[in-house]
């Protein structure tokens, strides 16, 4: 079975998994309104990482100014996930997979002259990380829009299952920039208020900076406390490149594929994508109902972090594992009144659970959808 060895989250809410979990459980967020930041003509609300804090930590890990902010984030997250383990990251049996949508895209700005332009290539950004750890393998970058973080974990599971590697270090990250914020603004997808997933008043998403890492390995004998990645699936809507399917087609099919013959009773919750855009949340409610999971609690974490893009699938999987360890279903911050047509079990208060499994669900541009079934102890 494919088992989690270690993890880390670096976000405005903390630099370790434990700090992030405690802060989220307490209901706090760093989503703030920014007026005039980066000379953007319109205000936006985002969860942004204080650059000084990252630079300070980077210095401790001997990461100098030759690394971009994005590269510092991914290296630090991987380093902190590796810290408590005895894994040798320079081994040829260790693979790095990076999940990101835009990496160092800020380098396309003609005014940015501090770094070689080739670092805008995602493979070159990832290579800064593998070189730092003296890892000999070509890093694989998953760039599959907003579902990248789950796709990266699915790729990790497959690489381990086929026996090519002993450990896969799966790092997801994106950092916000004029490029990303202005693009989402042009799409009218951003809310200037903190986002309200699944709420009747929801009016768009917020963006966020984060890096998150899960290290996976293959194990024949699984302990009760081990987190097992049971199954993942990626499915397409075959409908529209930037709008979700009205029938939730890909999301429904991904849910069906990961659930297979597992009884829904075993599932503590579905951690949804829940971006708080009108169409995404509605689509997820359709998909969850079609999959026969309407009675399973659903939550979304974008109200704490905003949409962290390439990090989201990994960050939200880590927090969901922490929550199950703590017998908790985390509150959907920002949610008040149900605003999707297919009823879901949602709450803005933390709830308790004694179940040991959850489903992570994501959707993205390009009509892509992904689901991942995780179970503690591996039995379902």
């Amino acid at each position: 079975m494919i088992v989690k060895v270690s993890d880390n989250i670096i976000s405005p809410l903390g630099i370790s998994t434990a700090e992030n979990y405690t802060t989220v459980k307490a209901g706090r967020s760093e989503l703030k309104r920014h007026d005039g930041l980066w000379n953007l003509p319109e205000p936006f609300t985002a969860s942004l990482m204080p650059r000084e804090a990252v630079n300070e930590m980077a210095t401790q890990w001997h990461l100098d100014e030759a690394y971009t902010f994005f590269e510092k984030m991914i290296i630090l997250s991987a380093a902190k996930a590796l810290e408590p383990t005895d894994i040798d990251p320079s081994s040829e049996k260790v693979l790095f997979i990076l999940s990101t949508t835009k990496g160092n895209v800020f380098l396309l700005d003609k005014r940015e002259t501090g770094f070689p332009k080739e670092r805008v290539r995602l493979g070159m950004a990832a290579k800064q990380m593998t070189d730092y750890f003296h890892n000999p393998n070509t890093p694989i970058v998953v760039s599959n829009a907003c579902i990248s973080g789950v796709c990266a974990q699915i790729q990790a599971m497959r690489e381990l299952e086929s026996g090519h590697f002993d450990y896969v270090i799966t790092v997801g990250a994106d950092v916000q920039s004029v490029f990303i914020v202005s693009g989402f603004q042009s799409f009218k997808a951003l809310s200037v208020e903190p986002c309200k997933p699944f709420d009747a008043q929801r009016c768009g998403l917020n963006l966020g900076d984060a890096a998150a890492t899960i290290i996976y390995t293959r194990k024949d004998q699984v302990e009760d406390t081990d987190w097992v990645a049971i199954r993942g699936a990626i499915r397409n809507d075959a409908n529209h490149i930037s709008g979700p399917s009205r029938t939730g087609e890909g999301s429904y099919r991904a849910l069906q594929a990961v659930l297979d013959d597992v009884s829904p009773d075993k599932i503590a919750f579905i951690n949804a994508h829940g971006t708080a855009t009108l169409y995404n949340d509605e689509m997820e409610s359709v998909a969850i109902e079609r999959a026969g999971l309407s009675n399973i609690p659903v939550n979304g974490l974008k109200g704490y972090y905003g949409h962290t893009m390439g990090a989201a699938g990994i960050l939200e999987t880590i927090l969901s594992m922490q929550a199950v360890d703590d017998h908790t279903i985390l509150a959907t911050k920002g949610f008040e009144t149900i605003g999707v047509t297919h009823p879901l079990v949602l709450s803005n208060q933390n709830q308790t659970t004694e179940k040991h499994a959850f489903i992570k669900l994501l959707s993205g541009f390009g009509g892509c959808n992904a689901a991942l079934l995780m179970a503690k102890g591996g039995e379902l």
């Binding site: 070509t138 970058v141 690489e159 202005s182 397409n236 809507d237 541009f365 892509c368």
Partner: protein, 184 residues
């Protein structure tokens, strides 16, 4: 088991090892191929270069496969690799925000600033509900590509993959080297 291949560069088009004749080069070559061999999908003209390239290459590939087209299916994955992700679309979008005095972020340009959009275009055209995935690696390394494609067959639904290398740096510089591969 690999069946059928399509290789397109700005100067040449080769389908299953046979050279396809054409007059144009670069961006105009993709339009020529569309008009001569496809012609019924005007959405082509909205697409960025990576999508045009992937769309035309996949159409030529599926035409030589000869199977019934446009039947909804979940057993075929679309998995592409490249070096430059969505660089051409990113550069186009960046131009709309580069000048603070002339700042006009374009949603039509922004939507293509993700490399996996081309997998969605192909899924929509062909009603493929299966896996779609885009992976970025520094070099067109056949060992890494075949390892990833083999891994893709671990999804029990996936019986065939439309995949391969699909890269472009600007509208006149690109390479598609794609194929169909079936579960053995």
């Amino acid at each position: 088991m690999m069946q059928h291949t399509v290789h397109i560069t700005p100067e040449s088009v080769v389908v299953d090892g046979k050279v396809l004749s054409h007059q144009e080069k670069g961006a105009a070559l993709l339009t020529e191929l569309y008009r001569k061999h496809i012609g019924d999908y005007p959405k082509f003209f909205k697409m960025d270069t990576l999508c045009r390239l992937g769309f035309v290459a996949s159409e030529l590939l599926l035409q030589v496969e000869g199977a019934e087209r446009f039947v909804p299916r979940e057993d075929r994955a679309v998995v592409f690799f490249n070096r430059n992700a969505s660089l051409q679309a990113d550069t186009t979008y960046q131009a709309t925000i580069q000048d603070p005095e002339n700042f006009y972020p374009s949603p039509a340009a922004f939507v293509y600033t993700l490399p996996n959009i081309v997998t969605g275009e192909i899924a929509i055209r062909n009603k493929y509900y299966g896996e779609t995935l885009f992976l970025v690696i520094e070099n067109n390394d056949p060992n890494i590509i075949s390892r990833q494609l083999e891994n893709t067959f671990q999804d029990p639904q996936t019986q065939s993959i439309l995949g391969g290398w699909l890269d472009c740096t600007d509208e006149n510089h690109f390479e598609a080297q794609i194929f169909l591969i079936f579960k053995s």
